[in-house]
């Protein structure tokens, strides 16, 4: 039970007033000479069960009257859950709003999404509770914005749905920083989310540090989780996995590969009309879907010969979540995949040249150019996708060129030189070759992402078969993608805003490793790095909503959410043009199949913190909290009536006869 005027509860001891009055009354007895003692004695001998009970009931109802009055003036709040606030008005209320696409899911039979329902509920609840300061932290920017009142949640564009995933740990981190920076008083943190695993990232190590930091706040921080964890098993999500434009004898065609997913495990056959829209030209393909996924490979859509660049959209009919019914893509002629290899040692150059120069697809134009570090100034960097560097780490003008290349989105893989020096790049440096007597095997590697990730079919790369004869030691902090037995890294990635910097601690030379002989790993890794580098070069680019760090000034919307602000384009799915390039922005893949967190997982995340959870449903119209002083007033009146009824003397029929 919570109260808006909890101080009034100090009057609760008044409940004992009837009992005290009763006891005082007992002491104020009168003494009287009495003749008819035989009836009094007989009455005393009789069972006094009901009479005694009646007295207790009268006292109880009198106490209830006072309790009802005290509770009524304390302005109690009702909710589906008790203990919504610790009492009183909060100094600061921070609202963490999950704007991820899964929050667009609608309730059964309703047209109101989880996000809209959550906002409505928050506005009603927070207006009732009151606070001195309101702060909104929404899931795209994760930055705190002060609000005038909770009503602003219904008007602000920054409280609308986006296509970007949420990062709850980052939002909580932002809330923590805000509390620390502003030295807030008693703080309430309201989290409105649908508890998707990908948004909450429960496995992240940040949760532990967050818990420790929140526990240390002395002013009292209380969490309220407004959870919309219902799933929609029949909801269909569509995603384009690949788009290729290729020239045919009659002109050109587009090969679209897509995958549809749903969360149900049943084998029902569902007929789904998939609509393809290429710049306004619409076609429909009816497919029958069985099971949780459906995959369509290289669906052909004819194009005019001169149609070299464009965009399109695939969509499925409206269902429970409209945010995952569309997927945008952009297409253009394949971009040439150019690699430069900075090396002068033939035993290293040759395998790298082969790995970078052989195309996995005949339609792709590949090229690998070998040059020395002195020739870097002559390179057309704007056409380069990947740099393979087997030399001392770049310094001076060369380093500036490489940094600009990486900032543009390029990829670079460093291999250790024969004679490592102390030169540094991105705080990394070669430390010298480690002398090992025996060949080392790769002990662990990241199969879930990045260059050594498993193949699409799920099979892992044969990284374990590599034999490393020599490797160079590294200095600096980086994410290890593969490590050797003994703990030294084989492949690391330096974190960057864009682009990719990888360092491989051995070379493909036969004296150093079997990378060249067992070339699959080298080839796949190089091709993946190349593909990532090409992404930023082509006339089109597929972007994941929220991941783009580009300036949005030149962005023009071609398709997508019309209500989105231009500054928020990177967070809304759609197709945008920017400097003659087409950018297709879509929701993250994890949003399609995200499962809600288990209760136990959630409890673990907030272990040690003061957290209250309430489960709501999309489209719910029941207010989370409301004032219920009327109920207590009614209780008081009922108690008064009952007390009066109990106090009424019995109708004595025999009285007339006795008289």
């Amino acid at each position: 039970m919570s109260f808006l005027q909890p101080l009034m509860l100090a009057a609760l001891p008044l409940i004992s007033l009837p009992i005290i009055i009763h006891l005082i009354n007992q002491r104020r007895f009168q003494t009287m000479q009495w003749a008819a003692m035989m009836f009094l004695l007989a009455a005393n001998r009789m069972s006094r069960g009901y009479a005694k009970l009646r007295q207790w009931l009268i006292l109880l109802f009198r106490a209830l009257v006072i309790a009802g009055l005290v509770f009524a003036i304390s302005r109690p709040l009702a909710s589906g859950w008790l203990g919504i606030t610790a009492g009183g008005r909060a100094d600061t209320t921070i609202i963490l709003l999950d704007r991820s696409p899964s929050m667009q899911q609608q309730g059964a039979g309703g047209v109101v999404s989880k996000l809209a329902t959550g906002r409505e509920q928050l506005v009603r609840a927070l207006n009732t509770l009151g606070s001195s300061r309101w702060v909104l932290i929404e899931s795209t920017t994760n930055s705190p914005n002060e609000l005038e009142s909770p009503d602003a949640l219904l008007r602000l564009p920054s409280a609308e749905l986006t296509s970007a995933a949420a990062d709850l740990p980052a939002m909580l981190q932002s809330a923590r920083e805000y509390i620390e920076a502003n030295q807030t008083g008693r703080t309430e943190i309201w989290i409105c989310s649908d508890l998707r695993e990908n948004d909450w990232n429960a496995a992240s190590g940040r949760w532990k540090s967050l818990r420790d930091e929140f526990v240390q706040f002395t002013q009292g921080v209380r969490f309220h989780l407004l959870a919309y964890s219902q799933t929609a098993p029949d909801n269909l999500a569509i995603r384009v996995t690949d788009v290729k434009r290729q020239t045919t004898g009659e002109g050109a065609e587009l090969l679209v590969s897509l995958v549809m997913t749903r969360q149900t495990d049943t084998d029902d056959i569902v007929s789904v009309p998939i609509a393809f829209e290429i710049e306004g030209a619409r076609s429909v393909l009816n497919v029958e879907m069985v099971g949780p996924t459906y995959e369509l490979k290289d669906h052909q859509i004819g194009l005019e010969q001169g149609h070299e660049i464009g965009w399109g959209r695939v969509s499925v009919p409206a269902d429970a979540n409209s945010a995952d019914n569309d997927f945008y893509f952009a297409f253009s002629k394949p971009t040439a995949r150019r690699t430069i290899i900075v090396a002068d040692e033939p035993t290293v150059v040759r395998p790298l040249q082969l790995a970078a120069g052989i195309s996995p697809d005949p339609t792709f134009e590949h090229g690998a150019e070998v040059l020395t570090s002195e020739q870097l100034a002559t390179v057309e960097w704007e056409k380069i996708a990947l740099v393979l560097w087997h030399d001392s780490l770049p310094e001076g003008p060369a380093a500036d060129l490489v940094r600009a290349f990486i900032d543009r989105g390029g990829q670079i893989v460093y291999f250790p030189p024969r004679d490592p020096d102390r030169s540094e790049f991105a705080d990394m440096s070669w430390n010298g070759w480690a002398e090992t007597t025996a060949e080392l095997a790769v002990e662990t590697w990241r199969g879930d992402q990045d260059l050594l990730a498993n193949t699409l079919s799920g099979a892992s790369l044969p990284v374990g078969q590599l034999k490393i004869r020599r490797h160079c030691e590294l200095t600096g902090e980086a994410t290890v993608l593969a490590s050797l037995s003994g703990g030294d890294p084989l492949l690391v990635r330096v974190s960057t805003d864009r682009g990719g910097i990888y360092l491989c601690t051995t070379t493909p030379a036969a004296s150093d490793s079997s990378l060249a002989r067992d070339g699959v790993v080298l080839y796949v890794a190089v091709q993946r790095a190349l593909a990532a580098g090409v992404e930023t070069l082509g006339d089109t680019q597929q972007l994941v909503a929220g991941d783009s760090q580009q300036q949005t000034d030149p962005w023009q919307r071609l398709a997508g959410a019309e209500a989105a602000l231009s500054t928020d384009y990177p967070y809304h799915s759609g197709v945008y043009s920017s400097d003659n390039r087409l950018l297709a922005v879509n929701r993250p893949a994890a949003e399609d199949l995200a499962k809600p967190l288990e209760d136990a997982q959630l409890a673990e995340l907030f272990q040690g913190l003061d957290m209250v959870r309430v489960d709501d449903r999309a489209g719910s119209i029941d207010a989370l909290i409301q004032e219920i002083w009327r109920l207590f007033l009614a209780t008081m009146m009922v108690a008064m009536v009952v007390e009066a009824a109990l106090c009424l003397p019995k109708l004595r029929r025999a009285e007339g006869a006795a008289a």
Binding site: N25, Q26, R28, F29, Q30, T31, M32, Q33, W34, A35, A36, M37, M38, F39, L40, L41, A42, A43, N44, M46, R48, A51, K52, R54, Q55, C647, P649, K650, R652, A654, E655, A657, A658, A659
Partner: protein, 303 residues
């Protein structure tokens, strides 16, 4: 009628004069010593014909009905009813509980008024009046006599009767049933705070002795209503243990006990054919006595 002119608080001359218009009748034949206005179980010399009886040697020849002899050639003696006076024994309860009263008068004062008036009415019509004041035992006992001087004695005893001590009404009534000669009018004035079952024995005993028993049951309105608002400590007027009671809590059971007692008493008086009058002491005693006398005159003449 009353030689001394001293005013007695329990006697109202005006009320007595109004009541004296109504005779006090016995409901059963009485055995008096002189002629009076009450039926006697024996034949006598009144003007009221009773029966013919065959002449037996020894009968007074003056009572032979010669006309009957002329008609039937047989000797018959003509008999007439006898009228006699009665002995009225008033039993006045003077136990401590009779000192209770909340209406400006006490039960003992009310009882004095009834006893005094009845004594006066009885002596006025030539009947004998006796008085027994009873508490733990017979406190005062005045045998029935019918001369006016005796009335003064009785009135003095009534006046000086003081309510004190506990009630031993049951053994006293048994004792009186034996000691009072047969066929008397016994008027019991009491609050009868005795178990009805024990009273039944007394009443049956008195009836067995062919007494005409009348009971005036005096109750205070507060005893019936039990209308208290505050907790009370009740002190027994007859010396028993005090009782502390919360009236709200105990009232129901008190009334239940009272109703049970009154119902039992009603059954007792019905079975024993007692002339029973339940009186609330806030009633006018003159009215009560008027009803009593009128009721008596209706039941007169049973032999």
């Amino acid at each position: 009628m009353i030689p001394d002119r001293r005013r007695r608080s329990f006697l109202d001359p005006l009320a007595l004069s109004r009541l004296s218009g109504l005779p006090l009748f016995a409901r059963r034949p009485m055995l008096g010593s002189v002629s009076g206005r009450h039926a006697s179980p024996h034949r006598g010399a009144s003007v009221e014909f009773a029966e013919y009886r065959k002449y037996v040697p020894g009968d007074d020849l003056r009572r032979l009905d010669w006309r009957a002899y002329g008609r039937s050639d047989r000797f018959y003696v003509k008999e007439f009813e006898a009228d006699t006076n009665l002995r009225c024994c008033i039993v006045l309860d003077t136990s401590g509980s009779m000192n209770f009263g909340t209406t400006g008068t006490t039960k003992i004062e009310y009882a004095r008024q009834i006893a005094g008036a009845l004594s006066y009415l009885a002596v006025q019509q030539g009947d004998a009046v006796g008085l027994s004041c009873v508490a733990k035992g017979v406190v005062t006992s005045i045998p029935p006599r019918r001369n006016p001087g005796h009335l003064l004695h009785v009135l003095d005893a009534i006046e000086h009767a003081q309510p004190r001590g506990e009630t031993q009404l049951v053994p006293v009534l048994h004792e009186l049933a034996e000691t009072i000669r047969q066929r008397a009018l016994i008027v019991i004035i009491s609050d009868f705070f005795v178990e009805p079952e024990e009273l039944r024995g007394c009443f049956e005993h008195l009836r067995f002795r062919k007494h005409d028993v009348t009971a005036f049951h005096l109750l205070d309105p507060l005893e019936v209503g039990f209308n208290f608002l505050r907790p009370m400590r009740f002190l027994d007027m007859e010396g028993g243990a005090a009782v502390f009671a919360e009236p709200n809590e105990i009232a129901d059971r008190y009334h239940k006990a009272l109703q049970g007692y009154l119902e039992d008493l009603r059954q007792v008086v019905l079975r024993t054919a007692i002339d029973y009058h339940r009186i609330s002491i806030d009633e006018d005693y003159e009215k009560v006595l008027m009803q009593f006398l009128v009721g008596r005159s209706r039941g007169k003449g049973v032999r």
